[in-house]
C-alpha cells in the first residue's frame, strides 16, 4: 500500500526566491511526525505547499498514491492560530462545525448531525462547556483546542498541524499530547510543525529535520542526533540562503 504522504523532488519559491529545495520525503503510516528546524527553515511552507495553499515550483506530492485534489477527505489541517481573525463573530461550536463544510459541499447547511459531531469533538479536547462562547473570549490555549477539534471533525487519516504547541498553557499542551496519542492509537498519521527540541523525543516517533532542504527524516532514535541537529541549525546551510537571495536579486 502507498504511504500516507510521499513527496518527490519538491521545490517551493516565494516571489521567485526558493525557500524549499528538492524535498524528497516519505512519511510512514500511523506515526506522530515532527517537522523540526530553525526559523525560516520552511517548516510551515512545507505543510502549505503539500496542502496546495502555495504553488510548488516543481515536484510531485501524493497522498496514498494519489494527488491531493483526489484525497482531500483524508486530510485534516490545523493552521497557525495567528492566521485568523479571532474577533470574527462566531462561537467555538461554529468554528468546529466548519470542519464538516468540506464534506457537506456547496450550499448544504450543517444540520443536527454535524452540530452534535462538533460537540463531541469539542468534548474530546475538553472544551464542551465553552461551545457557545465567542472565540475572542477564549484563552490562547483554548483557541488552539478549538482548532484541533475542528480538525477532528474532519475525521481524516492524515493530519497536518502548524505549531499547535506555540504559546499554549501547560494544560493545553498536555491535552494536545493526549490527543496525538489517541489519534496514533486509531491508526492516524499526524505531522506537526514543532519548535521545542526538548520534547521531540517524548512526543514523536518520526522526525523531519528541515532547513531549506531536507537534512534528515526517519525514526526519532535514529535521526534525532547531535550531528544532524548541528547540520540543521548550524551555519553550513547559510550558503543556500545566500544562493536564494542571489536568485531573487538577479530576477
Amino acid at each position: 500500500m502507498s504511504p500516507p504522504l510521499e513527496i518527490h523532488d519538491m521545490t517551493v519559491a516565494y516571489h521567485r526566491k526558493p525557500v524549499l529545495w528538492d524535498i524528497d520525503l516519505m512519511v510512514p503510516e500511523g506515526q506522530l511526525v515532527a517537522i523540526v528546524g530553525p526559523n525560516g527553515a520552511g517548516k510551515s511552507t512545507l505543510i502549505k505547499a503539500v496542502l496546495g495553499l502555495l504553488p510548488i515550483a516543481s515536484g510531485k506530492i501524493e497522498f496514498y498514491g494519489k494527488p491531493y485534489s483526489q484525497q482531500r477527505h483524508l486530510v485534516g489541517y490545523v493552521p497557525q492560530r495567528e492566521t485568523v481573525d479571532w474577533d470574527f463573530p462566531v462561537s467555538a461550536l461554529d468554528v468546529v462545525t466548519m470542519g464538516t463544510y468540506g464534506r457537506l459541499g456547496w450550499f448544504r447547511r450543517p444540520g443536527v448531525k454535524e452540530k452534535s459531531l462538533a460537540r463531541e469533538c469539542l468534548e474530546q479536547v475538553g472544551m464542551a462547556e465553552y461551545a457557545d462562547r465567542q472565540i475572542r473570549q477564549l484563552s490562547g490555549g483554548q483557541q488552539q483546542r478549538v482548532f484541533l477539534a475542528r480538525a477532528l471533525v474532519q475525521d481524516a487519516q492524515i493530519y497536518f498541524m502548524d505549531e499547535p504547541f506555540a504559546g499554549v498553557d501547560a494544560a493545553t499542551e498536555q491535552a494536545i499530547v493526549t490527543l496525538l496519542q489517541e489519534l496514533r492509537a486509531r491508526g492516524k498519521t499526524v505531522i506537526v510543525v514543532h519548535h521545542e527540541l526538548q520534547t521531540v523525543r517524548d512526543y514523536f516517533d518520526f522526525v523531519i529535520l528541515l532547513n531549506m532542504r531536507l537534512v534528515a527524516a526517519g525514526p526519532v532514535n535514529e535521526v534525532f542526533t547531535t550531528h544532524n541537529l548541528q547540520t540543521t541549525y548550524g551555519g553550513r546551510l547559510t550558503i543556500l540562503d545566500q544562493a536564494a537571495e542571489a536568485v531573487r536579486l538577479s530576477e
Binding site: 502549505k48 496542502l51 496546495g52 495553499l53 485534489s69 482531500r72 486530510v75 489541517y77 493552521p79 492566521t83 485568523v84 481573525d85 470574527f88 463573530p89 462566531v90 462561537s91 461554529d94 468554528v95 466548519m98 463544510y101 468540506g102 457537506l104 456547496w106 450550499f107 448544504r108 447547511r109 450543517p110 465567542q134 475572542r136 475542528r150
Partner: protein
C-alpha cells in the same frame, strides 16, 4: 404611490441590502472595495453617456458596473505584479478613475445638447428624483443579492474566518472572493444614483460596523446590519425632505423654513453615522455605557468586599464577640470619599450585615459570617501568592486584592480547593491567620477597648 413613499422605500431597501452585503465585505477586510467600485464607476458612467447618447439609466448602470469591476481587477493585478500593497493600489486606482470621470464631465456637457446636470447627480446622488422604475431595479437587485447571501452563507462565513482552511478543504477561495466582490459592486452601482459616487462606501461599511457592536453571532449581525442600514436610509430620507420634516411635530435639526430640502445621500450617510455612534454608546457589553457600568459595578464590589473584610479584621481579635467600631476610623482606613462611604454603609446595613448608629459600627451575626468568608478567600490567595508564587509577604496584600475581585467565581473555587489541599487550615471553614500585620487604626483600637 406618492413620490415620497417611493423614495423612502427605495432608500430603505438600498440601505438594507448594502448593510447585509457590507457585513461580509467588512468581515473579509474588503470594506474599501465598495469605495473603489463607486469611484471607479464614474468614467464608465460618462462613457456610457457618450455611447448611449442620452440618459439611458440601464446603459449608465452597465457602464458603471463594467468600469467598477475593471477598477477592482486593476487593483488585484497591481498587487500581484508589483510590490505595491493593496491599500496603496486602491488609493491609486480609485483617484485615477475618479479624476478621469470628473475630467470627462465638462467635455461631455459641451458635446451633448445640454443636460450635464444628469451626470453631476452621480457625484452626490439625487435620491429625491427616484421613480418607480428605479425602485423596481433596486428591488430586483436586493432580491438577487439577499438570495445569493442566503445561498452562499456557509461559504462566505468560512471564507471570511479562515480562507487558508477553506482552501485546504478544496473551496475555490479565489472565485468565492470574486463572487463576493461582484455582489459588492452590484449593490454599489445600483446605489450610485441615489447616494452618489463619493458616499456610497458608507452605506456598505457603517451599518455593518454598527451591527458588529450589538452581537457576537454572524447571522444576527447580518440581519442587524440590514435593519440598521434600512433605518439609516429611511431616517436620512425623512430628514432631507422638508415636507416630511414639516409633518413632524418638531424640527429635529433646526433646519428652519428651508423650502429646497437637503441632499438625501449625505443625510443618509450622516444618519448611518448617528446610528453607529449610538451603537458605540449603547450596545450591550461592547458599548461605552455598558463598559462604564461594568467598571463601576466592579469598583462597587471591590469596595463592598473591602468594607466587610476591614470590619471583620478589626473585630477579629474579639471574636466570637463583635465589638463596636468607630465608623470614621473604618472609612479613613480606605480612600473613600464621604459619598462612597455613605453609600457603602447604607448598602451594608440594607444587607443586614452591619448595625450602624451614632457613628458606631458593629457587624451582625450574618455580617460576621460573610466577612469571614471574604477574609478567608483573601488570605488563601495571599498564602498562594507567598508560597506558590514566591512573592514577599509585605507585597502580597495589594496583589491579592487586585486579582481576587476580578477572577470569575469558578476559578476562585477551583483554586481554593487546591489551596486548601496544599495548606489545610485546622478546621474546614476556619479563616487562616493573616500572613502579614493588619494595620489597626488608633481610634478603632480604642473603640474595641471600650467594648471590652
Amino acid at each position: 404611490m406618492s413620490p415620497l413613499v417611493t423614495v423612502l422605500i427605495g432608500t430603505s431597501l438600498l440601505g438594507c441590502v448594502a448593510g447585509a452585503v457590507g457585513t461580509f465585505a467588512v468581515l473579509r477586510r474588503r470594506a474599501l472595495v465598495g469605495d473603489l467600485v463607486a469611484h471607479a464607476a464614474l468614467p464608465g458612467i460618462c462613457l456610457a453617456f457618450v455611447v448611449a447618447g442620452e440618459r439611458q439609466f440601464s446603459a449608465l448602470l452597465l457602464g458603471a458596473l463594467v468600469s467598477g469591476i475593471f477598477g477592482v481587477a486593476l487593483v488585484t493585478f497591481i498587487c500581484r505584479w508589483s510590490r505595491t500593497k493593496e491599500d496603496a493600489a486602491i488609493g491609486i486606482v480609485l483617484s485615477t478613475f475618479f479624476g478621469a470621470g470628473v475630467a470627462m464631465m465638462p467635455v461631455i456637457a459641451k458635446m451633448e445638447t445640454g443636460d450635464k446636470a444628469g451626470l453631476t447627480t452621480y457625484l452626490y446622488g439625487q435620491a429625491a428624483s427616484m421613480v418607480r422604475q428605479d425602485l423596481l431595479l433596486i428591488g430586483i437587485v436586493a432580491v438577487i443579492a439577499l438570495a445569493l447571501l442566503a445561498l452562499f452563507y456557509k461559504e462566505f462565513k468560512l471564507l471570511g474566518f479562515d480562507p487558508g482552511f477553506a482552501q485546504s478543504q478544496g473551496w475555490p477561495t479565489l472565485w468565492l472572493d470574486l463572487a463576493m466582490m461582484a455582489l459588492v459592486a452590484l449593490v454599489t452601482v445600483v446605489g450610485l444614483p441615489a447616494v452618489g459616487v463619493v458616499l456610497m462606501a458608507a452605506m456598505l461599511i457603517t451599518p455593518a460596523a454598527a451591527a458588529r457592536l450589538w452581537t457576537d453571532r454572524l447571522n444576527v449581525m447580518l440581519v442587524a446590519a440590514g435593519v440598521l442600514g434600512a433605518a439609516a436610509g429611511a431616517l436620512g430620507t425623512v430628514l432631507s425632505d422638508n415636507r416630511w420634516r414639516q409633518a413632524l411635530p418638531f424640527d429635529p435639526l433646526r433646519f428652519g423654513s428651508n423650502n429646497k430640502g437637503l441632499p438625501t445621500g449625505p443625510l443618509i450617510v450622516l444618519a448611518g453615522t448617528a446610528i453607529f455612534l449610538g451603537s458605540l454608546a449603547f450596545a450591550p457589553r461592547r458599548g461605552l455605557i455598558a463598559k462604564v457600568i461594568a467598571q463601576l459595578r466592579l469598583r462597587a464590589r471591590v469596595a463592598q468586599d473591602h468594607l466587610l473584610r476591614t470590619l471583620y479584621e478589626l473585630s477579629e481579635p474579639a471574636l466570637p464577640d463583635r465589638p463596636e467600631l468607630a465608623a470614621q476610623a473604618v472609612i479613613d482606613s480606605h480612600a473613600w470619599n464621604s459619598l462612597e462611604a455613605w453609600w457603602l454603609l447604607r448598602w451594608a446595613q440594607r444587607r443586614g450585615w452591619v448595625d450602624h448608629a451614632n457613628g458606631r459600627l458593629r457587624l451582625t451575626a450574618i455580617g460576621a459570617q460573610e466577612g469571614a468568608r471574604l477574609t478567608r478567600r483573601h488570605r488563601l490567595w495571599e498564602l498562594f501568592l507567598i508560597h506558590g508564587a514566591n512573592i514577599a509577604a509585605d507585597h502580597v496584600d495589594r496583589d491579592a486584592d487586585d486579582i481576587e475581585h476580578i477572577l470569575p467565581p469558578e476559578v476562585v473555587d477551583r483554586l481554593e480547593v487546591e489551596l486548601l489541599r496544599a495548606y489545610p487550615p485546622k478546621q474546614a471553614d476556619a479563616v487562616p491567620a493573616s500572613p502579614h500585620v493588619i494595620p489597626q487604626p488608633a481610634a478603632t483600637a480604642a473603640g474595641a477597648a471600650d467594648h471590652g
